[in-house]
Subunit: 394 residues, 2 copies
């Protein structure tokens, strides 16, 4: 058994002690001056992290709630929209749109691959009526990160609105919202921002507000314009999740002390270390090299059956205290996933790798141990060239 | 100045130390066996508190999100529904319905009064096509509690579905869900349950699921049937607010140790004490005697202007650390509100009353102090007959 779990799913992420202590501050009146100070600080911090001057709207919700907010505010029933999916969460966004009566034109990429900007361009050329495009930045189910710079160039080049699911990407990998011209960016507290789940944060451009004013899907709880009015006054329309906000405030403070480039570099380094370690023992990564996420790595199952994979993950958890994620949807039983976003450092990479190795050996899936950590150490020492950096904004 | 605020708005309520420490437990995998244990415990505890065998669904949301969930699941666009409003939150529920294209037939009672079951009966007779009725149990904006027993008798007597906003009433005043036959009951973590905000909890009857299966308003994030499938498996559809759930688990444990009848009796006693104290210095309560809420008391402003009321409330906060709420909507500037729900005991009533008295004296609105606490003590000692108990379930 293990006294404390090492939680390495792709969110929720572990919470730093400083953040957890902040979360436990007494409740306050969410209509009072103390709440206004916190809300303004969160808006400032998120603008910093997302590199934007756009409004930041806060909603008591999970990331999926943020995706629903984007649909409800941007679209009208019967309107066609382009939904680019490279995995489970891309599919979900299109499903939400369909539930709202939006004509979701789906550009579906095989799970494990990245979106090709030329495909986006082609579909937009085929569907000139489409005015809004929804794209996943980091696909949590596959560990694939899309190249948002080239995708944004295509979409914005055609004058379309671009909404981005960066629930698990923002604060982990660069996503310079204003530079790329992103209109709606959805993220959530429990990923790179090192806070507990419960808050969806959405960056909204002036063009997105204009679209929202014309859109006719029903939105009340998630209404952008109403929430903006309250946030501008230093409060929120409905009672906000104060504990999560206290935590997020402290998480953002830690990230700002570290510096944004350092945050991205840390995630790059730790992800490189973990990937190098896994590859060193012959494991195969799902994502293509140019699109490997620094937030989560999906690994082809080393087990002989879905049942053996399940037993391996269960033993990691119960015997070694390491909690990894299985596969979602069509990848269930076929991959496992290592989350390496948020509160993670080099030392954690060693611990994760050594424990995975130990678990594989326990199950007769590995004969020699020690290779993963040595490979990670080489990456950390810079004696082995790190793989090319992948993903957005580079 | 005050070192620590005494938060006495009608939610969020103060959090007991035990609960706050529980909220700060490490994050876990919300798809794993540990989360299943917590979710099942929350469902058990809420069934106990709501006196129901119905399903309990959990959503990452504020109470308003819960009200939207009820609309999105129960209604179809163009369908007529009866929305009975006795204040701000009743109005909000009808506004949500209107946003979804529901034909919201509004039975609007002057703010400060309770709903008359005969009016409900009359409107239902006039609108035979209406199949679903939405009613506020405890109206947070006015401190009025509706008599849910007689209202339920009318609505269920006509074979209609009854949805109840008990965001601020449940866990404070009796609401025996199964005995009254309530189909949907919405509550939220930050009220009587003594946890931070962030979780909406909804009790759903089999008849409500049948209605949801036929309803055509768009629902995805708040979809009852999908969430039931996940809750039955010990998880939730989207990432849940784990910290809030840890806290709610401990809050429910404390309430169960106290006993449900004792919880209701404590709220009754403390509310009686506060009301007696306020009345003893000539303050006038908004709610009629038979419908006074044990969760919140709205008091007619003792000030000569809205500005003086605002200054009085600000001075209470900054000088004495007591945070009360002003009026909402049409009552802004005309009342102040004392929250007395959740984590509150007799000693708090004394402190609240003495501080209000002190603040009134500071502002020249009271010449003699000491009367409020003496009146409250008489109630506590039982030497003064307590007012008749009000509200549901009696």
């Amino acid at each position: 058994m293990a006294f404390e779990q090492q939680l390495r799913v792709p969110g929720p992420t572990p919470i730093p002690e400083r953040v957890m202590r902040s979360a436990a501050r007494p409740m306050i009146n969410h209509r009072g001056p103390d709440a206004a100070v916190i809300i303004r600080d969160l808006v400032d911090g998120l603008r910093w992290g997302l590199q934007t001057e756009n409004d930041i709207l806060l909603f008591p919700a999970s990331g999926t709630g943020g995706l629903e907010a984007a649909v409800a505010n941007l679209f009208s029933p019967g309107e066609a929209g382009l939904f680019c999916s490279i995995g489970s969460f891309g599919d979900r966004w299109a499903d939400i749109a369909a539930a709202y009566g939006v004509e979701a034109v789906r550009l579906e990429i095989p799970w494990g691959e990245a979106l090709d900007p030329e495909d986006v361009d082609r579909v937009l050329a085929e569907h000139p009526a489409i005015e809004k495009v929804c794209v996943t930045h980091n696909e949590t189910s596959t560990g694939v990160v899309n190249d948002m710079r080239s995708i944004a160039a295509v979409v914005k080049g055609r004058g379309k609105l671009l909404a981005v699911d960066s629930v698990s990407g923002a604060g982990v990998m660069p996503l310079p919202v204003d530079e790329l011209g992103l209109d709606v960016v959805v993220t959530a507290s429990q990923k790179g921002w090192m806070a507990p789940p419960g808050l969806a944060m959405i960056a909204v451009s002036p063009a997105a507000y204009r679209a929202a004013a014309a859109a006719r899907c029903p939105s009340f709880y998630f209404d952008f314009a109403r929430q903006k009015g309250f946030i501008d006054q230093g409060t929120t329309f409905t009672t906000p999740p104060l504990g999560v906000m206290y935590a997020l405030q402290e998480g953002l403070a830690m990230l700002r002390e570290e510096g944004l480039e350092n945050v991205f570099a840390r995630h790059q380094r730790v992800a490189d270390m973990i990937r190098a370690g896994l590859v060193a023992i012959g494991l195969r990564l799902l994502a293509p090299e140019a699109h490997r996420s620094n937030a989560v790595t999906a690994v082809h199952s080393p087990a002989s059956s879905p049942e053996q994979l399940k037993a391996f993950l269960a033993a990691l958890r119960t015997r070694h205290g390491l909690v990894l994620a299985g596969g979602q949807g069509q990848l269930a039983g076929r991959v496992f996933r290592v989350g390496h976003l948020g509160f993670i450092e080099e030392r954690d990479a060693y611990s994760i790798l050594a424990t995975i190795e130990q678990g594989l050996a326990d199950h007769g899936l590995l004969s020699r141990v020690g290779l993963t950590v040595a490979a990670a150490q080489r990456v950390a020492r810079g004696t082995q060239a790190a793989p090319e950096p992948a993903g957005a904004g580079r």
